[in-house]
């Protein structure tokens, strides 16, 4: 433990300022764009089955994103948010975890959720806010969560999950659990006060948490260079006394390996670790955004050549683990399945009107009961004005 006040200080006799840019953290990468490993790189210890599971989740999410964005444009869902170009960051990191490690995400991490086992139907039920949605249709599309899959339900206010992840991990530590918490957030969210509070708390209290920053270059229209000066987010971990690594976010193998090692460090050392994955948000921020107003086609095209799925796919082909024809067929089938699942989910009813007052407290209060009764009486008076619930208002 480095306690400046108890040790002999390291003194200099000329004033010396440490330049903010002095620290330059390298990027850990394994896979080249052609699917070959870099000359001195070693592939992580992944077997065929695991490697394909990672691939399958990345492809699943890409197809889901593509179809659901189209569905949003057709007015079938109100909002959507894709993770185009960032599939490797979240899928490969989730793959390096134990299934019981808690994940606390921001909103662009559907890949990790799919890897954990969230089904196509579950995705659809949430996106359509129907009565089968685990969140009971209360949140906007893409705010997923599943207790069974150890995936904390997403909250929109940015960064709030960061100090919570520190606390959750500390709870795991007190319980003596062999698990950690992994917390995803964007480089934009790393500016909120909660980020600094959360990292410092975890460092001081030695919480086994992995802070995983998806640095995709933009927070809506704001480019990273208007978000922070100096060396990205990884250097901030260093400032808080937290071991940090920067990794190529378009390289599934490097992300997997970095996360695997971070987990070992967090678990064995019972301490926080920070990962900064460098990627690019290839798509719009959300279905409400148009990036042509703030960045160039050229820039996007340059990043398209870094496609994490294509890169990883080439590696799999070189391993002889993937059959091209079968892969193509599987993608076509999946596209069809997504559309069918959407059609089914669309037909499922909205949540019952009684759910308006549940889960506010463990039990609805008397006041809430009477407000609901009043509302139902009102709806009975004007049934045609409230199509969804009118028939359900006994």
């Amino acid at each position: 433990m480095n306690n400046l006040r108890n040790s002999t200080p390291d003194c200099v006799y000329q004033p010396q300022f440490i330049d903010g840019h002095a620290l330059s953290i390298p990027t850990f990468t394994l896979l080249q764009a052609d699917g070959c490993l870099f000359p001195r790189a070693r592939a992580p210890n992944l077997n065929r089955e695991q490697a394909l599971k990672i691939y399958h989740s990345m492809v699943f999410i890409r197809i889901l994103d593509e179809r659901m964005l189209a569905a949003q444009r057709q007015g079938r869902i109100s909002f959507y948010l894709q993770c185009l170009g960032e599939e490797a960051t979240t899928v490969a990191s989730a793959a390096a975890l134990d299934d019981k490690d808690m994940i606390m995400a921001q909103y662009r991490e559907q890949g990790a959720l799919h890897y954990r086992g969230f089904s196509l139907t579950q995705f659809m039920d949430q996106l359509l806010s129907n009565e089968h949605d685990l969140g009971k249709g209360r949140q906007m599309p893409v705010h997923y969560g599943s207790k069974a899959l150890h995936y904390m339900t997403i909250s929109s206010p940015l960064g709030t999950q960061i100090p919570q992840a520190s606390g959750y991990a500390y709870g795991q530590k007190l319980r003596g659990e062999p698990n950690i918490t992994l917390c995803y957030f964007g480089e934009g969210a790393a500016s909120v006060g909660d980020f600094h509070a959360g990292l410092n708390m975890a460092a001081v209290l030695k919480a086994p948490v992995i802070f995983f920053c998806r640095n995709n270059g933009y927070a809506i229209s704001t480019p990273a260079h208007e978000q922070y000066i100096s060396d990205g987010i990884a250097s901030r971990g260093v400032g808080y006394g937290i071991p940090a690594i920067r990794v190529d976010g378009a390289d599934a193998l490097a992300v997997y390996e970095a996360t695997r090692l971070a987990r070992e460090l967090a678990l064995s050392g019972q301490q926080p670790v920070l990962i900064e994955a460098m990627a690019y948000r290839l798509g719009a921020h959300s279905s409400s955004d148009d990036p042509s107003g703030y960045r160039s086609r050229d820039e996007e095209t340059r990043w398209r050549s870094q496609d994490p799925i294509a890169r990883y796919r080439r590696w799999l082909l070189q391993q002889d683990w993937l059959d091209e024809a079968a892969d193509q067929l599987a993608s076509d089938v999946l596209r069809q399945e997504v559309l069918e699942a959407l059609k089914i989910a669309e037909k499922i009813a909205k949540p019952h009107i009684d759910t308006l007052i549940t889960d506010v407290y463990a039990q609805p209060t008397d006041l809430l009961h009477s407000q609901l009764a009043q509302l139902k009486a009102h709806i009975r008076r004007f049934p045609e004005a409230y199509p969804l619930s009118a028939a359900r208002c006994k």
């Binding site: 209360r138 206010p157 909120v192 809506i220 978000q227 007052i357």
Partner: protein, 325 residues
């Protein structure tokens, strides 16, 4: 005069204020070149440069703390909080700092030039994190002004008055009406007083009071009530803090009845404060209990938004019940 929507009126107000006074500076998340996620600040960076209109890092706490500091130096920061739902990280800066700067220093320092703009309210399928109407939290904070326009004419005049005001102002913009509310707006500079309600329509049977986006709902309810032969006086409160008690009192003394409607949940909502005051000042003139039509005491839902809202039928029912008490 020119026809414009509420967003354009806000944009024009900011443009005029920046042109008149170089101390006016606009900033917030995505506010710079992009012009804000709703485009309220579009073209301002092009016109006034990136020192006076800029993106900030993503930190509401930082934005308002920074704005407090700038205003203490005598500048006029117009800080945007992208959604009112995300104002809470800045709550400490607003409640403990913005509101108390002048008081705690014995007027040695103040942050009078500060305006915080933020889109608020529901009806946009935004669920509980893109729909809140937090005016009541701030109404409990002496030292700031809370202003909510309902249309482009008001938005422009009130925003210009807010920027010129020697007190810090929280300016809440009804985002549901950003493009929906359109009107003829004077293109010259003008200010609208910050502490006056507006009698939108006079009537004699019942006073109907609302503000911001809820005015549209109240106006529709008034039309329904009039079809039933009820004459309504419709009032827009416009400023929540400090609020125009006399205007409401005068109206209720005439009509003897009051229906107040807001989007936010009932309990602890600003309608409660109004009801208590009017009950005290108009007790002997009231012909029926003051009615409140508000959101339920729950977070703002997504799937059942239509049922949840204090819509025109609910306001209409309350008007009729009040009149027929």
């Amino acid at each position: 005069m020119a026809e414009m929507n509420l967003l354009q009126a806000i944009n024009q107000a900011l443009d005029l204020a920046m042109a008149r006074d170089k101390d006016v500076v606009c900033f917030g998340e995505d506010v710079g070149h992009f012009g804000g996620v709703f485009r309220a600040t579009s073209q301002l960076q092009e016109k006034y440069g990136s020192a006076r209109c800029f993106n900030t890092p993503l930190t509401e706490q930082g934005i308002i703390g920074f704005a407090n500091g700038m205003a203490a130096r005598g500048l006029k920061p117009v800080a945007e909080i992208q959604f009112a739902d995300y104002i809470y990280p800045a709550f400490d800066q607003i409640v403990n700092e913005t509101a108390k700067f002048r008081y705690r220093s014995g007027n040695e320092f103040n942050v009078g030039g500060l305006v915080i703009r933020t889109p608020y309210g529901g009806g946009i399928a935004g669920g509980h994190y893109h729909s809140q109407s937090p005016e009541a939290y701030f109404a409990h904070t002496a030292g700031i002004r809370v202003v909510i326009p309902r249309n482009p004419v008001q938005a422009k005049g009130l925003l210009l008055a807010a920027i010129a005001c020697p007190d810090p102002v929280l300016f809440m913009e009804p985002k549901r009406l950003y493009r929906a509310a359109v009107g003829e707006v004077d293109i010259a500079y003008y200010e609208t007083p910050l502490d006056k309600a507006e009698v939108v329509q006079s009537g004699c049977d019942v006073t109907v009071l609302a503000w911001g986006a809820q005015m549209e709902v109240a106006a529709k309810a008034v039309v329904l009530a009039e079809l039933e032969g009820v004459s309504c006086e419709l009032i827009d409160l416009r400023t929540i803090l400090p609020w125009d008690q006399d205007c409401i009192v005068d109206s209720v003394l005439k009509t003897g009845r009051l229906v107040i409607s807001h989007e936010a949940p009932l309990t602890g909502g600003f309608a409660g404060e109004i009801a208590a005051t009017i009950q005290q000042r108009c007790f002997l003139y009231l012909e029926s209990p003051i009615a409140r039509v508000c959101g339920l005491d729950t977070p703002y839902p997504l799937a059942l938004e239509k049922e949840y809202q204090a819509d025109q039928l609910k306001v209409f029912s309350a008007i009729m019940d009040t009149v027929n008490f």
